[in-house]
């Protein structure tokens, strides 16, 4: 095999010809590689999104066939949405859920990452152990918490009884239902922020810490003035990812509370699901979903800008 090093170098003219040929071929080849993916993505994501948008301009109800492709009142669904107090409530529930889960996950993830950021074999093994909640199938997480929140078989309620405390079933209590979802969701996803912070901590230049130590900084000062500023970008990105994901919360709510009691755990995503697949109001549900999708795209755009993809020049 000829490697370029053992081959005699081509003359200057030949060389630029070769490079020109390569550039042209390259262009064609790359287009050929990208085309199938873009075509498939267009068919499976772009078209459905447009279809969703179109449906949101109808009053589609599967039990009434005449509503199919009926665009006589295109903005009716959005009008209803604007006035729908149940929709407003769902947004408020979503805000509460997102705020608390993201905040708790960031705090717990950060705390654990700082605790586990030592290169000992035990702690490195524990890092893997802490990942388990995140990798479990979401439906299994929901089952796990269903067990814990069901008084008859729950070890937690058993303990409460043993202490003589009277604790109501949390997921059927209006004051506690959302909190119990927040706890379960935090448990499921704290490993994510932990993992991201750990990865960032591992990239921290050791000289920085050493220099501060030589200057007599205490561990608290090190964490507060050196480590935290270094990882704040990662915390922001991790928080945004969790924020977007929290909009999709479904299995936990589906299994634990079904949006209830009343509507106290009915987030917007869940409300949309109920409208579409319980009540058959697909047109109205599409309008809700368009709002959700728009929020997702805006947040994704923020991430893309923050991380600086696309703007990169290699």
């Amino acid at each position: 095999m000829n490697s370029p090093l053992t081959q005699p170098l081509p003359l200057a003219g030949e060389r630029s010809q070769t490079l020109g040929r390569i550039a042209r071929q390259q262009h064609r080849f790359f287009a050929f590689c990208v085309a199938p993916s873009l075509a498939v993505l267009a068919v499976i994501t772009l078209l459905p999104s447009l279809y969703l948008l179109a449906t949101s301009f109808t009053q589609l109800n599967l039990t009434r066939p005449e509503t199919l492709w009926n665009f006589s009142q295109p903005f009716e669904s959005y009008h209803q949405l604007w006035a729908d107090t149940r929709f407003h409530n769902s947004i408020w529930v979503q805000i509460k859920l997102s705020f608390w889960t993201v905040l708790l996950q960031l705090l717990i993830g950060l705390g654990l990452a700082l605790l586990l950021n030592m290169r000992t074999r035990l702690l490195e093994a524990l890092r893997t152990v802490f990942l388990i909640p995140m990798v479990l199938p979401p439906i299994v997480v929901a089952i796990i918490w269903k067990v814990i929140y069901t008084p008859d078989i729950s070890p937690m309620h058993g303990l409460f009884r043993a202490f003589g405390w009277h604790v109501p079933a949390l997921i059927t209590d209006p004051h506690w239902a959302l909190t119990s979802i927040i706890i379960a969701d935090t448990w499921e996803w704290f490993p994510f922020t932990m993992l991201m912070v750990l990865a960032a901590l591992q990239m921290m230049p050791q000289e920085l810490l050493d220099a501060a130590k030589v200057d007599g900084a205490s561990p608290w000062q090190l964490t507060w003035f050196i480590t935290l500023p270094f990882i704040q970008g990662v915390l922001l990105v991790a928080g945004l990812f969790r924020l977007i994901d929290s909009i999709k919360a479904f299995p936990l709510i589906f299994i634990l509370t079904d949006g209830g009691p009343g509507n106290v755990t009915e987030v917007t995503n869940y409300y949309s699901y109920l409208q579409a697949f319980n009540f058959s109001y697909l047109g109205f549900s599409s309008a809700i979903t368009v709002v959700l999708l728009a929020a997702t795209i805006v947040l994704s755009w923020v991430i893309v800008r923050l991380v600086g993809w696309g703007a990169r020049i290699d």
Binding site: I22, C33, T45, I153, G158, W187, A200, T289, V304
Partner: protein, 276 residues
């Protein structure tokens, strides 16, 4: 000397705290696994006995029920959607890594957004279209909708991977007269092994873990394991032992595979938002 011993004590305390927290964090999960080996009477006993007679009855009951088909469905859909995503996505990831186009930012946003979109945004149109194409309750239907997240995942995972491979590798081959395609197949692909393996596993896991799409788009024939477990709750009363056994069976492959790709997890979940 005293400074050193206080350092050792702090170290010991940190390890103890870490172990205690790990046990606390894992106890809900361990409880479910234990439950899957208990008889119904044992499940309702409090305080629980540490040493109870383990039974395989829950698993045996699952194995002789419809659950076995659902488990197989999950496997088939997971594998097929993984293979398809890799076939379509890997060349694109390579090209997007090497090709500097102005559309790069738009394509990235598109891919990220389709990864991030709430599942219901796709479920409504897919549900409506599948009714006409007769793809409801079919494995094909599931494979197609799983491409919405897995294809983006492949491009996301593999692009940063190829960014790290030096261009000089395939350029040398081109100068030697190899075609682009040969350069990709003979030079780049053999070097992608670890990245491909990690990506394949993550794709499989995302398909395997899906609940929402399968809940809406399947009924009986193509039902996947996560939906089947939930059905134990709805129709057959509360069979906790079987639910726990089903849950444990679903998470078993996940735990094994996740352990293998733990280093790539951040990457797969954030698409290399973080280099590391």
């Amino acid at each position: 000397m005293t400074r050193k011993s206080s350092h050792a004590r702090a170290r010991f305390l940190m390890h103890a705290l870490a172990i205690a927290l790990a046990l606390l964090a894992l106890s809900p999960f361990l409880w479910l696994v234990l439950m899957s080996f208990k008889t119904n009477a044992e499940i309702f006993r409090f305080p629980p006995r540490l040493f109870f007679e383990a039974t395989w009855a829950n698993y045996a009951a699952l194995w002789t029920s419809e659950f076995r088909n659902s488990f197989a469905n999950s496997l088939i859909v997971g594998v097929v959607s993984t293979v398809l995503s890799l076939l379509i996505g890997v060349p694109a990831a390579y090209a997007l890594s090497r090709w500097t186009t102005r559309a790069g930012g738009t394509i990235t946003l598109w891919i990220l957004a389709s990864r991030m979109a709430p599942p219901i945004a796709f479920t409504i149109p897919y549900f409506l279209v599948y009714r006409h194409l007769e793809l409801l309750d079919t494995l094909t239907g599931l494979v197609i909708i799983y491409l919405t997240f897995n294809l983006s995942l492949v491009i996301w995972m593999m692009r940063p991977f190829y960014d790290q491979l030096p261009r000089s590798l395939e350029e040398a081959a081109w100068i030697d007269g190899a075609t682009m395609w040969q350069g990709f197949c003979r030079i780049i692909l053999p070097l992608s092994g670890p990245g491909l393996a990690a990506t394949a596993i993550l794709c499989f896991l995302f398909a395997w873990n899906d609940f929402f799409f399968a809940l809406i788009l399947t009924r009986t024939e193509a039902m996947t394991a996560p939906v089947a477990v939930v059905n134990f709750m709805n129709y057959e009363g509360w069979e906790w032992g079987r639910i726990a056994a089903g849950g444990t069976m679903i998470m078993l492959p996940v735990l094994v595979f996740s352990f293998l790709v733990r280093r790539y997890l951040v990457h797969g979940l954030t698409g290399g938002a973080l280099k590391g």
